[in-house]
């Protein structure tokens, strides 16, 4: 069965991130001049404007910054079988924030600052999504 939900379309800046996910690694950009770590991917460092950058692996640990519980599916035909689901902003230990789903617990169990860790789910042979699940405090 084909994958029915929206899929990322990697571009020249984001492809290393998605390649990393497929290999089970959560990658962030690090500026080779000032060391600033950033997400989502950009060409220039917002801290020092350098175009020098490398990809480094995140610890994969973070905490829930905010979250929602989607109960009304939009579009209905795509998400009717998915609700309720949790979308969260997770602040990684490296300081950057990433949007994701929290899985592995009831939606009602999600709390602010809850420690979470990355877990990867293959969507298609090309795309693997970084999701998060409850974790012991890192």
């Amino acid at each position: 069965m084909s994958y029915a939900k929206p899929l990322p379309v990697p571009d020249v800046e984001t492809r290393p991130f998605w390649d990393g996910c497929r290999e089970g690694k959560l990658l962030l950009q690090r500026c080779t001049d000032c060391g600033h770590k950033r997400f989502p991917p950009t060409h220039f460092c917002p801290n020092c404007r350098s175009a020098g950058q490398e990809w480094v692996e995140s610890s994969g640990h973070g905490r829930v910054f905010s979250w929602i519980v989607v109960r009304h599916p939009v579009p209905r035909d795509i998400y009717a079988g998915e609700v309720p689901y949790v979308v969260a902003l997770v602040t990684l230990d490296e300081g950057v924030r990433i949007a994701t789903n929290i899985i592995g617990c009831a939606p009602e169990a999600v709390t602010a600052d809850m420690p979470v860790r990355v877990t990867f789910r293959e969507a298609t042979p090309e795309i693997t999504l970084p999701l998060f699940e409850p974790a012991p405090a890192s």
């Binding site: 939900k5 929206p6 989502p40 905010s66 519980v69 109960r71 009304h72 689901y85």
Partner: protein, 385 residues
């Protein structure tokens, strides 16, 4: 900073009916509202030489409206690719355009078939390009889903409650009862609010604005010219447009926003008040951008009507009711009048300042704040009679 205090005025306003299915082209809606605003000002079509609008690829270009209504000499026409954040910015832009001599009399409009045509955040695109590749694949697609994430932060930081959000929804609906333009005129209670369906926790159905087919337009011209026209001029005392650092790559994107318990408002407050030579205490009433109940709290806090985090208690006790000390959204707002992306707030402000708001008129109004935008970017104006 906006430096044209009281030099420009809104001389005319116009709108179409607000509905769920206009059965009309967006261009015809824009033309109808524009003609109504020109007529309301007591002007002829030939007196208008500028058009400014904004859209989300869901509307028609300004030149198409000028063409349909037969404007003989179009000196300036511009369309901003923007959301509700632009609804006050286009009025400030009209003043700037006239000040620069590019035009003399400018129509600002917003037109859309927001329910029967292009629905914002419909999520049909299964290919997530650009910044969307980091949001949509997780089922984070619609604006209610975006703003609910912000609202949760306010609840975490300050203990804001559903009942406080409900107070906003109930108050605005009460105002819409007396507004013949409003799409939702049945009064609601806090119990109705609490019982309304949870759409995206923490938002219920009644936290979320309407989707609307319709158009609004206003005519901006020099103050001294406006004084010779049909209505008492409504002066643009001050205004501001912008947001903080890390506004993101589009209106949805707030991945890098510092904390979603505050929005653009705190970043434009100083410019807004200095430009008008006023402060929150000088404001008789306000039309606050309410695409969601929660966005009202961030704007009241950010603009200094109360301290950060105290919005939830501030709006209680009848303070924002029509007979309270700070009446808000006297037309019912985006929540109950309709969603013309915030330009309908400017129409209501003008009616109130003219003393022309019928059964919902607040007595003795001399100043009205209007705001536009909910997230990382927005605009606001102080209008006065």
């Amino acid at each position: 900073m906006y430096s044209l205090r009281d030099k420009y005025a809104i001389a005319g306003i116009g709108c179409t009916a607000f509905s769920k299915n206009s059965g009309r082209t967006v261009r015809s809606l824009a033309s109808e509202a524009s003609l109504a605003a020109i007529n309301d000002a007591g002007l002829k079509v030939a007196d208008v030489d500028g058009f400014v609008s904004f859209n989300f690829n869901d509307s028609v270009p300004a030149i198409s409206v000028a063409t349909e209504i037969g404007v003989p000499d179009v000196r300036y026409a511009n369309d901003f690719l923007s959301g509700g954040n632009a609804a006050n910015m286009i009025v400030l832009t009209a003043a700037a355009v006239i000040e620069a001599g590019l035009a003399e009399t400018v129509v600002c409009y917003r037109a859309m078939n927001g329910r029967s045509g292009f629905r914002l955040g419909g999520g049909r695109d299964l290919s997530a390009h650009g910044i969307t590749q980091f949001t949509a694949p997780f089922g984070w697609i619609t604006y209610p889903q975006a703003m609910a994430m912000w609202c949760r932060r306010h609840m975490i930081e300050y203990g804001t409650t559903a009942e406080q959000l409900g107070e906003i929804a109930v108050t605005f609906r009460g105002n819409a009862v007396d507004n013949p333009r409003a799409m939702q005129r049945e009064p609601i209670t806090l119990d109705d609010y609490m019982a309304s369906r949870m759409i995206v926790d923490p938002f219920r159905m009644l936290d979320i604005c309407l989707e609307t087919d319709g158009a609004c337009a206003v005519v901006v011209t020099k103050a001294e010219r406006a004084r010779d026209l049909r209505h008492k001029p409504v002066y643009i005392a001050g205004g501001a447009y912008g947001g903080g650092p890390n506004q993101g790559e589009d209106l949805f994107d707030a991945l890098r926003w510092p904390d979603h318990s505050h929005n653009y408002a705190k970043y434009i407050a100083d410019d807004l008040w200095r430009s008008a030579g006023m402060g929150p205490a000088d404001i008789d009433m306000a039309q606050i951008y309410d695409c969601f109940t929660y966005s009202v709290l961030m704007q009241l806090e950010g603009l200094g009507f109360c301290k950060e985090g105290e919005g939830g208690s501030f709006i209680g006790g009848g303070r924002i009711a029509r007979d309270g000390p700070l009446p808000l959204n006297t037309h019912g707002g985006l929540l109950s009048e309709g969603y013309i992306h915030g330009l309908n707030h400017v129409l209501e402000a003008v009616q109130q300042l003219r003393g022309d708001a019928g059964p919902r008129q607040v007595p003795g109004v001399e100043t009205c704040l209007t705001t536009a935008g909910a997230m990382t970017c927005g605009s606001a104006m102080v209008l006065r009679s």
